[in-house]
Amino acid sequence: MFRNILEKGRRLAGLGSLVAALTVAAPAMAQDKEPIVFGGSIPLSGVFAFAGIHIHAGLTDYTSWINSQGGINGHPVEYVMEDTAYEVDRSVAAFKKISGSSSPATYYGDSTGFMKAIASELNSQGNTLMSGASFATALTDNEQYPYQFIPGPNYSQMFGIILEYIASQGEGGDMPNVAFVYSDTEFGKDPIENGKARAAELGIEVVEEIVTKPGSVDVSAEVLKLRRVRPDYVVFHGYVLSPINEFMVQMRQMGLDTQFMGTFWSSDKLIIDKMGADADGYMGVMPYNYYDSEEGGPMLDALRAQAEKSDPEAGYRPTGYMQAWFNAMVWTEVVKRTLDAGKELTGDNMAEALASIEDWDTGGIIGIPVTVRDMSFPVGRIWRVNAEEGRYEPVSDWIHLD
């Protein structure tokens, strides 16, 4: 245990050195041009810290990498963040502090709640483009959230991709049925109504809806409900790990041959690491290639090299890291397009640049060229757990929704 503590101490010290190095090095690299600031309300502690730590690492590493490439059109990049503990009020305070002191061009929001709460201020300031951890469907409403985008498909689109995959598994007109299991949170409920509508369009019957407390203690009663309807597929949303494991184990103990699927935050390697063999066959929709996938590409290779360079002992990097890196990639592309067009970095100009992204090659982070639709990247792929290999493997082609 003490070795573990020492190891963590070394990592923290390493992280601190890196942050210090960035703070010192960025101005030195500034040449003559003003730095472009990536701001962030990052949940390094609290309930979302398991992802926040990796999000922070992804943004830090991307900043180092882009600066090593000469910055954005010669402008160095600075990453300025505050820990929020995943609390909306602290995220708002962090935004006010960072926007007051550093004028960030882009900003990472740590939750849907924060991104909704800050929308009016963001709109009135009109000089920052925001994305973050949220894939909330509501944030793709351009009227209300003109300066916010989703770094992938929104949750409804994720359900759309999952349902298209399920529909493709129907044999001879025998369409599989599905049950939705989601947490009793804004996050959990987000895609359900749109998911039901999409299922109806595809001819998929939703045979049961189960709502649980987030991180529910006991789900045996819910499992009994599912046993009565014997769904072909169960789609989870609004969880990270528990109670997915309990649903899968108990339903298999009952002899059901149901297949289990989940959305972005329910599709990390954490599920394999913690569930072991029980995770075998679990499927998730993921808009990015996994860090340990067999896919490649110049940007994916650069990501792996930078990750290795910044912390050689870290090994596998979770989906939060990939997501943060992709966020920063999009910010870079948007800033570059805006500057190339000779425009100021205002919210309107950056939103316009974002909307112009079409058939964009992400260098292997996403396996196909992507096009922005309604401030999101509606693309993803279904991956299945191979527990023996300890990783996700693709079981569908990339699906780009129109």
Partner: protein
Amino acid sequence: MDWLFFGEISLAGLAMGGLYALIALGFVIIYKATRVINFAIGEIMMFAAYLFLAFAGGMELSPWIALPMAVIGGSILGGVIEKTMIRPMLGESPISVVMVTIGIASILVGLVEFIWTADPQLLPNFLPREPVFIGELYLAPKIAYGFLIGSALLIIYLLYFRFSRGGVALRATASDQAAAYSMGINVRRVFNMAWVFGSLAASLAGVLVAATGGLSPQFGIIGLSVLVVVIVGGLDSILGALVAGVFIGWLETVAGAYLGGEYRMPATFLVLAIILVIRPYGLFGTHEIERV
């Protein structure tokens, strides 16, 4: 009405209620003896569950060795907390003591995040995985065996408090501290013992609940939800903790199954509201309870 389904749901709820009763027991023992409302009970549960993870997962000990080690570790933690942080607060206002327990809870959360990271965890499997059938009724094995282990500890506790010298001392102190002191009972030792026993019950419940629902630094919130149980049962009533624990577990599960998961908490809080109106001291509590 599908009676088989109702029976299975009820069985699952009663079994889960048994674990609630165990947590509530930990809460009540401490309150009954020391008049301290321990808001860190959930975090003590969490800490014991992480100890189990360290012993059974990290050190790869047999789960059946790791379980008593983790439970004893949790109870020692309770004893240390009492001696170093609660005892110096003797004579201070109840609010101050409550605030100390809230602070202890935050410290424990920070400690486990530092040692075990903020990642969600699953405990190594140590309970049999074969489905349990009682007649035709199915019961999830983790819940069934968790209930059996928890019930065994409950019975041991009840016998101990009824027949042992320590149990009599604890009950005497709970009834009248001054009288107990004048009769030669070491009241300070009883206080410490109450924290050790209360934490032991909570620690066992922590490992059993985490074995079912997973573990994270936010696990301690379960301790707060059990506050409903102890208020309904009566803050100073062991019988109340047992009855209310089982009842709330059953109600929560039945409401979740028939009305939907979003009605689990409203159903229990409705009961809480009714109890507070008609019997503010709980179903089995004494009238003199001081509300803080």
